[in-house]
């Protein structure tokens, strides 16, 4: 094996890939611009902080003004409408996110312990902003009801604590909130998806595409061995997969910080996350092994195809192979996950998740890393063998 020839092939592949607009689009633009926008723009647009929800209110008298003052905030814009208006239609048509009819003599609920007021709410729960408006109204009702109950208790001489005989004190043992969701679900998922699919276009182009354009035939008549050709192409495929994985994560973090932060929908996803250097290296290593394994598998499948399109049809389902275990991981118990340490893809994703949550155990890591490495070596060996197979290569 000649390292110089592998380098010559890799350098040409990189130059060719960087001149291909479609590779640049898949490797750089989609992960760093399109992905974060698609993920976080809906959150940004739905956010009531940025764009208050509009609530239409039919009020029979002014007795409910006090309640409306509780509801009114920077997130809720209250519009009083006349009784003759069709409130159902107004909500259905999207003029308002929520409609509300407040009963007359609303303040009578302060008069006796048996008095109850019924607020009628009209909401389209299939709309995100509708559910946000409903939740804000429920919060206001709860707050207002608490005030009423406290007054009723005061009249009977009971302290407010009488309503809360048991309190729950929560002590979190890991990161919580938006940050945790980002860490445990989204980050391993997107690292996995991009490690597997980031170089898919390049691989199809450099194998089935080369076959289809007949450039492979000229290359195979060079003194480079087929193993050297595979390795040259493989190196660039792995590089592209890693770059797009890093860019996807960077894009997600940037999107989370700017869009979610700007929307005020919670603390930025990346806030408060501190990953040690060792764990960062482990995440990088797991992503690398995952990228190498998938690049090999994709090369095996793609070289069998006669054309780019055939390769695309054969490889597209691979995305599901990553997404399904990554999503399923969230619903599995720790015991189930540990029993799946030897499963391909899942092993690398477990390393990433454990490193992110800072709960890496040496024994588990050794099993996961060793199995991921073995799969990678097997897949690469098969790719080299396939490239050396006349049957696969001569399939025009």
């Amino acid at each position: 094996m000649n390292a110089r020839r592998i380098g010559v092939i890799a350098a040409k592949e990189l130059k060719d890939a960087l001149r291909d607009r479609r590779t640049i689009l898949a490797m750089i633009l989609i992960p760093i611009i399109v992905l974060p926008i698609l993920m976080f723009l809906p959150v940004f647009l739905a956010s009531p902080e940025r764009n208050p929800v509009r609530v239409a209110v039919i009020q029979t008298d002014t007795s409910s003004d006090d309640f409306l003052a509780t509801l009114s905030s920077t997130q809720v814009h209250i519009v009083r409408i006349g009784r003759e208006e069709n409130i159902t239609r107004l909500v259905q048509d999207g003029d308002y996110e929520l409609g509300m009819i407040l009963p007359p003599n609303f303040s009578r609920i302060f008069e006796g312990p048996d008095e109850t007021a019924t607020i009628t709410v009209f909401v389209d729960q299939s709309s995100t902003r509708g559910t946000i408006a409903f939740s804000l109204v429920q919060d206001a009702v709860t707050e207002y009801a608490k005030k009423v109950v406290e007054e009723r208790l005061a009249q009977t001489g009971l302290p407010p604590e009488a309503l809360n005989p048991i309190e729950t004190e929560v002590r979190t043992v890991s990161v919580t909130g938006v940050g945790a969701i980002f860490l445990v679900i989204l980050l391993p998922l997107f690292l996995g998806i991009y490690a597997v699919t980031g170089a898919m276009y390049f691989i199809m182009d450099t194998t089935a595409g080369e076959k289809e354009r007949k450039t492979l035939e000229a290359l195979l008549t060079m003194p480079a061995t087929r193993t050297e050709i595979v390795l040259g192409k493989f190196l660039i495929a792995v590089l592209i997969a890693l770059v797009s994985s890093v860019l996807a994560i960077t894009g997600m973090m940037t999107g989370a910080v700017f869009l979610v932060g700007a929307a005020g929908a919670g603390e930025p996803a990346a806030a408060g996350i501190a990953i040690s250097f060792t764990n960062l290296m482990l995440i990088g290593l797991a992503t690398l092994v995952l990228a190498m394994t998938s690049a090999s598998i994709e090369m095996v499948v793609s070289i069998f195809a006669r054309s780019f399109k055939e390769a695309q049809n054969l490889l597209s389902p691979l995305t599901i192979v990553v997404v399904v275990p990554a999503m399923a991981m969230q619903y599995m118990s720790e015991q189930t996950l540990r029993s799946l340490e030897l499963a391909p893809i899942l092993n690398a994703m477990l390393i990433i998740r454990d490193a992110l949550l800072n709960k890496v155990a040496a024994a588990n890591l050794a099993i996961e890393l060793a199995s991921a490495f073995v799969y990678m070596v097997i897949a690469l060996a098969i790719a080299i063998r396939i490239f050396n197979s006349e049957k696969a290569m001569a399939r025009y």
Binding site: V8, K12, K15, D16, R213, A218, L220, P223, A224
Partner: protein, 238 residues
């Protein structure tokens, strides 16, 4: 320089090349003439080590196809049936890439690439991506690619197929130059005029077998026909 001994290739039950034998010496242009699907391209692919023979063998520049495929590839320059160029690379980049794969040194490689581009009148397009080139220009680049490492043997599969007269003449002139330089050249073609014009010896292949071989004069004597087209028709219909 090239010695083919009972070269045979079978794909399952189908025989694509059947016991083909011929010799090509230095400064000779050997033509493989035959109808579509006769086995010309498969023979070329066997000689360029893309396919492995199922019977017989060949030696090229003293190297055996089966035992020394890498040495064979280092000794040959191949122009495949399709030019097979990378649309996003320039002619100069193509020549540098394939020259490097042949282990050429950077200084001499760049100089040789410039010289070759000049001989094909491609100097002013040396840094234009070949995706924008005409078929004739692409074929010129592909021919230079085959010749970048100055191999003793050239295998040219349908070198002028689909080209206009001027481009074809340019390619013919280049083949003639290679011949004068003492290269052993194999051309696969179904163009009678081209075969008659360029080849010192012709093998007519039909249904995987050589049905006639020799100089044009020898073939005329064999068939009692004067015109190569008539010779061809007589041999493939017999």
């Amino acid at each position: 320089m090239i010695r083919c001994k009972s070269l045979t290739k079978k794909f399952g039950e189908f025989t694509a090349v059947d016991q083909v034998s011929f010799d090509v010496g230095n400064g000779e242009v050997f033509g493989l003439l035959g109808p579509n699907g006769a086995g010309k391209t498969t023979t070329m692919r066997l000689l360029s080590t893309l396919l492995r023979p199922t019977g017989g063998t060949a030696t090229i520049a003293g190297h055996d196809l089966l035992r020394e495929p890498r040495e064979v590839r280092a000794s040959i320059g191949v122009l495949p049936e399709d030019a097979g160029l990378y649309d996003r690379l320039t002619p100069k980049e193509h020549l540098l890439y394939y020259g490097r794969l042949h282990g050429m040194h950077e200084d001499s490689l760049s100089k040789r690439a410039d010289e070759l581009l000049d001989t094909m009148e491609l100097t002013d397009r040396a840094n234009t991506k070949v995706g924008d080139f005409s078929k004739g220009m692409k074929q010129k680049v592909a021919l230079l690619r085959a010749f970048i490492h100055d191999p003793p043997v050239l295998l040219l599969d349908e070198p002028t197929a689909g080209l206009d007269v001027m481009s074809a003449r340019h390619i013919h002139a280049f083949v003639e130059r290679f011949r004068r330089e003492g290269k052993a050249i194999v051309i696969s073609t179904h163009n009678m005029t081209e075969a008659q014009k360029l080849c010192s010896k012709i093998a007519i292949i039909d249904r995987a077998k050589v049905v006639g071989m020799g100089t044009v004069k020898e073939l005329q004597a064999l068939t009692s026909q004067k015109d190569l087209e008539n010779i061809f028709v007589q041999l493939v219909t017999d």
